[in-house]
């Protein structure tokens, strides 16, 4: 005849045990841990936010540095070309008589004379 096992012989008992005070103190422990974690998470968020801001500032600074100097060079080039164009245009527009006077003035100009 096949042997049978009766679940009632064990019931709902378990071989584990816990200290008598465990369940009376666990709620407080959980709340304390929750508070601690909340504080830590807030601190972590502040740090992350600060690092993020610092990184953003650094990136903006780095990106802008070479662009600024590049812009300066192109500005100088533009100004130089503009000057050249303007002088040529002016010289073409100056009548021959005035040009002759200008040459004479330059030759007699004390400051432009070479010794």
């Amino acid at each position: 005849m096949k042997k049978e096992f009766d679940f009632d012989s064990v019931g709902k008992k378990m071989p584990y045990n816990v200290s008598d005070t465990f369940f009376s103190t666990i709620s407080e422990d959980i709340l304390a841990t929750a508070r601690k974690r909340k504080k830590a998470s807030l601190y972590k968020r502040v740090i992350t936010f600060s690092i993020g801001i610092a990184a953003m500032i650094a990136i903006i600074f780095i990106i802008n540095l070479p662009n600024e100097s590049k812009n300066d060079v192109s500005k100088d080039e533009a100004m130089a070309t503009q000057k050249e164009v303007n002088i040529d245009d002016l010289l073409i527009e100056v009548p021959d008589k005035e040009l002759e006077e200008l040459v004479v003035n330059m030759e007699t100009d004390v400051f432009s004379m070479q010794f």
Binding site: V10, M14, Y16, N17, V18, I30, A34
Partner: protein, 155 residues
């Protein structure tokens, strides 16, 4: 929390065996309950929702410890070793043997058996916790009971 802490603790303890682990998981479970209580939609009972979080936390712990949850033989051996460590003072050997039989079950069967046998939850409630159909759960419980009976008779 006061209403559910004891039954949730024992649910966790039956899965992870160690008291320290059960305590940690109980803490994590209730902290998650507080954090996400706004997202509790109320389709299920509050305690089945807490059971669900607790069960997932247990699975997460095994996962974090790189214990493959699908290879239940490996998990069983680890948990049975723990069971013997934790029950050295227990004189009732039949209780230890019974837990050993439960711990030898495949994971799903073990969860269904514990929730039905110890927590006396309905199959509908267990279905809500384990995301499974009632039919599958009944089959799992039947197989689990048979395996436990067999183990208790033959060992």
């Amino acid at each position: 929390m006061d209403k559910y802490k004891e039954r949730i603790y024992w649910h966790i303890r039956r899965i992870v065996v160690s008291h320290e682990d059960a305590q940690d998981i109980l803490q994590d479970t209730f902290i998650k309950v507080y954090r996400f209580c706004d997202s509790f939609v109320g389709n299920s009972q509050l305690y089945t929702w807490i059971y669900r979080i607790a069960t997932n936390e247990c699975i997460r712990m095994f996962h974090d410890r790189k214990i493959d949850f699908t290879s239940y033989d490996q998990v069983s051996e680890i948990l049975i070793d723990k069971l013997h460590e934790e029950t050295t003072e227990c004189e009732d050997t039949i209780l230890v043997k019974f837990q050993e039989a439960v711990l030898r079950l495949p994971e799903k069967q073990k969860l269904v058996f514990n929730l039905r046998y110890y927590d006396e939850l309905s199959y509908e409630e267990i279905a809500g916790i384990l995301d499974s159909s009632v039919g599958t759960l009944k089959t799992n419980y039947h197989y689990a009971s048979e395996k436990i009976k067999e183990y208790m008779i033959n060992n």
